[in-house]
């Protein structure tokens, strides 16, 4: 049986045209997905059963026992951290926020090690945004800044941006100009009309120089800025002003480098400046398929998109203080629940060592280094393949993920709900 129009649960592109072939309750084939998506949809090694750690080793247990232990860890902690939520659906996030509120914890998403600085930059400056559909149908200039979709979002260029064919862009790549700004010549850069190589950590200076040229103050900037010739910047600024509909699509090159949210703030300012001359939009190339969705749910439930402290009776947000890496780095969190993420791989080593000192509950379909540190491990169904739910594409469009096969495993949402239920009962017992 072929199931059409399946949504891909991998990256922020959230491609919705995937064909999945199912036989005997198993996925046997995937069409149209990229290498990243098909690898996930076809399946990997899974966590076999719920486990708890005793004397340093993980032993299999029942779901009920795992839920009980998880609830007791969270209830007994003074500063529990509930982290992850990027590779699961919005329904799980909603229950997670309830759980964080119930235990007086801090809830944070993988955005804080990814596009968190972009969110802060957007809060500071405001965003001239658009949907991916608008980029596809209208943009005649695409700027990839610190983004490498050829490796991180492989179908982005064909479906939504530089190489796609839209209503007013029937020529596809031939009718568009592409500028790539990066610290290395990536695969994406090879597709560019204009590639600007900058030194690592100089995004802010280069954006400032572009803003000056755009606003007619180019005579004040030196002959080279961060190793880039002024003539190259003038050419890029000219291309931007000449565009009918320009789009800056930026990646972690901006948020992971020196300057972080200030880089984003400055890029958004450049786009605001450009709107004085032509139509220009800007978008963060979000990584995991529903990291944007957690931000949406968290914002409408608590008022803030990530790193929310719910221990004070009213939500409190101060990344740098309440983000996962900060809480762990200060040895402040005394228990951690990880849902649909792998911080042991993706946090700096010193932060991981802090994580290893406290009880960790892992809720995830797949074994990963976080499993090596976890005290309670709860396997779940893979959202978008074995469970349905809502996810948000990188441009903020909400889409319904399908269930294509039945795993018999509980969903992330059910697991979080079960733990929440037990935490509430523990509260009643007191």
């Amino acid at each position: 049986m072929i199931i059409e129009d399946v949504l891909c649960p991998f990256c922020g592109c959230l491609c919705d045209d995937i064909k999945v072939e199912v036989e005997g309750g198993r996925v046997v084939g995937v069409k149209r997905a990229c290498r990243l998506g098909s690898s996930k949809i076809l399946g990997h090694e899974r966590i076999g059963a719920p486990m708890v750690r005793r004397d340093g080793k993980l032993f299999e247990t029942t779901y009920d026992d795992a839920y009980d232990r998880a609830a007791r860890i969270l209830k007994g902690a003074k500063r529990p951290l509930l982290y992850g939520w990027c590779s699961t659906v919005c329904e799980t996030a909603k229950k997670g926020i309830l759980l964080a509120e119930e235990v007086g914890g801090v809830i944070d998403s993988t955005a804080t090690v990814c596009h968190g600085p972009s969110i802060i930059g957007i809060e500071e400056k405001g965003l001239s945004g658009s949907t991916l559909g608008q980029v596809k149908n209208r943009a005649d200039l695409i700027v990839f800044w610190g983004a490498n979709p050829a490796e991180a979002h492989p179908r982005h260029t064909m479906r939504y941006s530089s190489n796609s064919k839209g209503m007013f862009t029937p020529e596809g790549r031939g009718g568009r100009k592409v500028i790539v700004v990066d610290v290395r010549k990536t695969r994406t850069a090879k597709n560019a009309d204009k590639f600007i190589l900058i030194r690592p950590g100089t995004d802010y200076e280069v954006i400032s120089a572009l803003r000056m040229i755009v606003k007619g103050k180019g005579d004040l900037i030196p002959e080279t800025v961060a190793g880039v010739d002024k003539a190259d910047l003038e050419e890029a600024a000219g291309m931007m002003k000449a565009a009918k509909f320009g789009s800056i699509l930026f990646g972690l090159g901006m948020t992971h480098s020196r300057g972080r949210y200030k880089n984003v703030d400055n890029a958004l300012s450049l786009v605001a400046d450009l709107n004085g001359f032509t139509k220009f939009v800007v978008m963060a190339m979000r990584g995991h398929y529903n990291v944007a969705g957690f931000g949406q749910v968290c914002a409408w439930e608590t008022g803030y998109p990530m790193a929310v402290d719910l221990s004070r009776g009213a939500p409190y947000f101060n990344p740098g203080e309440t983000a996962a890496c900060d809480l762990l780095g200060r040895r402040e969190a005394d228990a951690m629940m990880v849902v649909a993420a792998d911080p042991a791989s993706n946090f700096p080593r010193a932060t991981v060592e802090a994580m290893a000192e406290i009880p960790v509950i892992q809720v995830d379909p797949f074994p990963n280094p976080t499993t090596f540190l976890a005290d309670v491990v709860i396997p779940t169904a893979v959202c978008g393949i074995e469970a349905e739910g809502t996810a948000y594409r990188m441009d903020g469009l909400s889409l319904r993920m399908k269930k294509v096969v039945d795993s018999g495993l509980p969903t992330d949402e059910e697991v979080v709900e079960n733990i929440l239920d037990r935490v509430r009962r523990l509260a009643d017992d007191n």
């Binding site: 991998f10 990256c11 290498r35 990243l36 690898s39 990997h44 090694e45 750690r53 005793r54 004397d55 340093g56 009980d68 007994g76 944070d108 804080t112 090690v113 968190g116 600085p117 802060i120 490498n148 490796e151 610290v183 290395r184 010549k185 990536t186 690592p200 950590g201 972690l252 090159g253 992971h256 480098s257 972080r260 990530m306 790193a307 990344p319 740098g320 983000a323 890496c325 900060d326 762990l328 780095g329 792998d342 791989s345 946090f347 700096p348 080593r349 010193a350 932060t351 802090a354 290893a356 000192e357 009880p359 379909p365 797949f366 074994p367 990963n368 280094p369 090596f372 540190l373 005290d375």
Partner: protein, 126 residues
């Protein structure tokens, strides 16, 4: 040192205990100039050291890299040399850490070895 996504890293992302993930993520890409300056002929490993830690990874040439910039795919190997400070915004500096690179005969640790000593406590406090 900058870290980032690659196709291989992404394709083995949900299978981190697999040999594919090890192969996809435990390397360091260097410019031709840096590769030659380190005197690596054919295959070889390098020790990458920052003020926050060190890690052994295999070395690869990448023509897209300018001299003085190395690239390690995002993951536990790259993060061994990333500092924990977040600059007041919650996000560590995963790109642009200052590192020293030298040729080494030491082997690249696999994922189990990398995490072998991290969890020292017995668990089960509940």
């Amino acid at each position: 040192m900058i870290s980032g996504r690659t196709l291989g890293q992404g394709a083995s992302l949900e299978a981190k205990t697999s040999p594919e993930f090890f192969k996809a993520v435990s390397f360091c890409a260097l410019s031709q100039e840096d590769y030659d300056a380190l005197g690596i002929f054919g295959e070889g490993n390098v020790l990458v050291r920052s003020e926050f830690g060190e890690v052994v990874v295999s070395a690869k040439k990448d023509e897209g890299l300018p001299p003085g910039v190395i690239f390690i795919p995002m993951g536990p190997w790259a993060n061994a040399v990333v500092g924990r400070k977040t600059g007041g915004c919650g996000t560590p500096q995963f790109k642009g850490e200052k590192v020293e690179v030298e040729r080494t005969k030491m082997p690249v640790m696999d994922i189990q070895e990398l995490f072998a000593d991290v969890k020292t406590r017995g668990g089960d406090r509940s």
